[in-house]
């Protein structure tokens, strides 16, 4: 025992209040250090966890965290449920205030995205859509959803451009037994109409093709013919628009070519559910016969937009209104240039000259009418314009003017009712209004 006693200090150390005070002071220091260390450790753990979560979840985060660039860097096929940035959306439709569907571009392919929160976040629903929808095909197609039943058309192939139907909210699609070329479709509940013919959208004008109407009353499962629209003249496949007001009253705007190859627009309408059709001339003539769109706020209140040849981001336009279902038309506004003199009956150029309307833009979603007084016009390569005085005057929507919607990307404007609407443009983003007045961005911009 005491084998190291010889190593002891021969002088006893002082042990008193001073030493105790030093010890207590040091204990306090240690405790403070430990607390800081604990705080630092927790902070580091949280930071590492956050970084890890960011690095490990390119596709399990809300869409708002992804940019369009990041989205398109991801290799396909994308896993279902992968977030889609709103900047990748090119066409948006909502079945109700919450459930929305969109075509989105991913690496030059079109995927179907879905949202369950009014458009704030989007996820991939289907990456195996029918071929021919991508920008490589020149046309991303059109679609519509009523509840979980979806209709998709515009995907061209060598054998036709069929109508595709989905019964499971876009997860899978099957071909409707109509065609071979479906030009437009519209659903009101389970009642679906589709315009189809035997000519593709790029057929020669001299080819005689008629437009036929098929109807399904069970959400696209079975179809029956409603006959041909009595135009009696050749029509251009892409320049056909179906506007359904009710299940019985519908309009078809079609581009017809007469014997001298002069294009004119006709408006066919039915008031008995397609049992009979009447055709009236539409006032899109002469220099304004290169494009047209029709929209309605009620059975008889029609808005008709006519356009000239589009070039360099501009297109002369005329806006007509009809209060009797197309029986008579009234010119209410115009935008003239490019060799089209201003008409004397309307104020000079209240419509924007910039921007294109159909068929120089995707689909027929450039004009949205909320009421006989209010409407929005979103020409491709232009801002969103709004009128609150029957279309007499138009002004850019100030909320959206700085957002970059005039960049010229694919996009559309869609309204669920008079106040709730969405506008999207590829690489710009998705915006929403719930009062028909103010617009707010959704997700990433």
């Amino acid at each position: 025992m005491a084998m190291f006693e010889h190593l002891d200090d021969q002088t006893e150390p002082n042990v008193g209040a001073l030493e105790l005070a030093r010890v207590l002071n040091r204990a306090g220091t240690i405790q403070t250090r430990r607390r800081w260390f604990a705080v630092l450790t927790v902070s580091c753990v949280l930071l590492i966890a956050a970084i890890g979560a960011l690095l490990s979840r390119p596709f399990d985060t809300p869409a708002s965290t992804l940019s369009n660039y990041q989205f398109n860097l991801a290799k396909g096929p994308l896993p279902l449920g992968s977030p889609v940035p709103t900047t990748a959306l090119v066409d948006v439709q909502f079945a109700n205030g919450q459930a929305g569907y969109a075509l989105a571009l991913h690496r030059n392919e079109v995927v179907l995205a879905a949202s369950g929160d009014g458009g704030s976040t989007w996820t991939v629903r289907n990456t195996d859509l029918p071929a021919g929808l991508g920008p490589g095909a020149g046309y991303p197609g059109q679609f519509e959803f009523v509840g979980s039943i979806g209709y998709l058309w515009g995907a061209s192939s060598a054998t036709g451009a069929p109508l595709w139907v989905s019964d499971d909210a876009g997860a899978s699609w099957h071909k409707a037994p109509i065609g071979p070329y479906v030009y437009d479709a519209s659903a009101i509940g389970l009642n679906v109409w589709a315009l189809y013919g035997t000519c593709s959208s790029s057929y020669a004008a001299s080819t005689s093709c008629s437009v036929n109407v098929e109807q399904s009353v069970d959400g696209g499962t079975s179809w029956s013919s409603l006959g041909a629209i009595a135009s009696g003249e050749p029509v251009g496949g892409r320049s056909i628009e179906l506007a359904r007001i009710t299940t019985s009253r519908s309009y078809v705007l079609e581009n017809v070519t007469n014997a001298s190859d002069t294009a004119n627009w006709m408006l066919a309408f039915t008031n008995d559910g397609g049992g009979s059709w009447n055709t009236r001339p539409a006032p899109c003539n002469g220099a304004f016969s290169n494009g047209a769109e029709v929209a309605a706020s009620s059975s008889d209140d029609l808005w008709l937009l006519c356009g000239s040849q589009a070039t360099a981001g501009e297109q002369s336009k005329q806006l007509y209104r009809s209060g009797d279902g197309g029986g008579t038309w009234r010119l209410v506004a115009s935008a003239t240039g490019l060799g089209t003199p201003p008409p004397s009956s309307v104020p000079t150029d209240p419509l924007p000259l910039s921007g294109y309307i159909a068929p120089f833009t995707v689909g027929h979603h450039n004009l949205a009418v909320a009421s006989p007084e209010r409407a929005w016009l979103f020409p491709a390569r232009a801002d969103l314009y709004e009128t609150q005085d029957d279309g007499t005057s138009w002004a850019p929507v100030s909320d959206l003017s700085p957002a970059g919607f005039a960049d010229g990307g694919l996009g559309n404007i869609s309204f669920l009712n008079a106040t709730q609407g969405w506008i999207c443009e590829y690489s710009v983003g998705l915006w929403h209004t719930s009062d028909g007045m103010t617009w707010h961005p959704l997700g990433a911009s």
């Binding site: 002891d8 042990v15 010890v23 204990a27």
Partner: protein, 193 residues
Amino acid sequence: MIHCESDRGEGEVYGTDVDLGFSEYQLMAAGVPRSFELAFGDLYRLAYRVAYRILGDRAEAEDIAQEALARATLRWDKLHDRPEGWISRVASNLALDRYRKVRRRPPAQTGPIGVVDDQTVERSDLVVALRRLPRRQREVVVLRYLADFSEADAALALGCSIGSVKTHASRGLSALRRLYGDQETARGDVRAS
């Protein structure tokens, strides 16, 4: 309470011999129980002794003792029954670590040039030998021969039997002697060369 037979007279018990004059209020404000203040003197001297036997430096040993006691205050609720063993081990570990750091610095010249202090050499051998011991043997050696615990107190502090303490102490001593011998041999070889 543990009685250290070799160092203390009969009836002398840790925690009963020093009152440093701190009021209850002062101690409460510092978060220190009264029992710690009462045991402070003996525990401080114990930690100082262990550290000094390893380091041979008064200032360093005081610093080690303060550090060990400061740590003890933070876990006093767990230690106050038998704090001596824990403090001895903490003091020895701190001293071994401190020795390594001190050795990295150029040694202070305290004597005539060329004269090597025997205790300095012995402490160096002791540190090397302790570091090479298995943990349990090192703990027993520290308690028995640096803190001068009895076998019974060492067993109580380590939570093992006296027989186990004897075994570890015997093996530890043998290893120390062997390591000491190796160190002596190594020094001799160096000197011979």
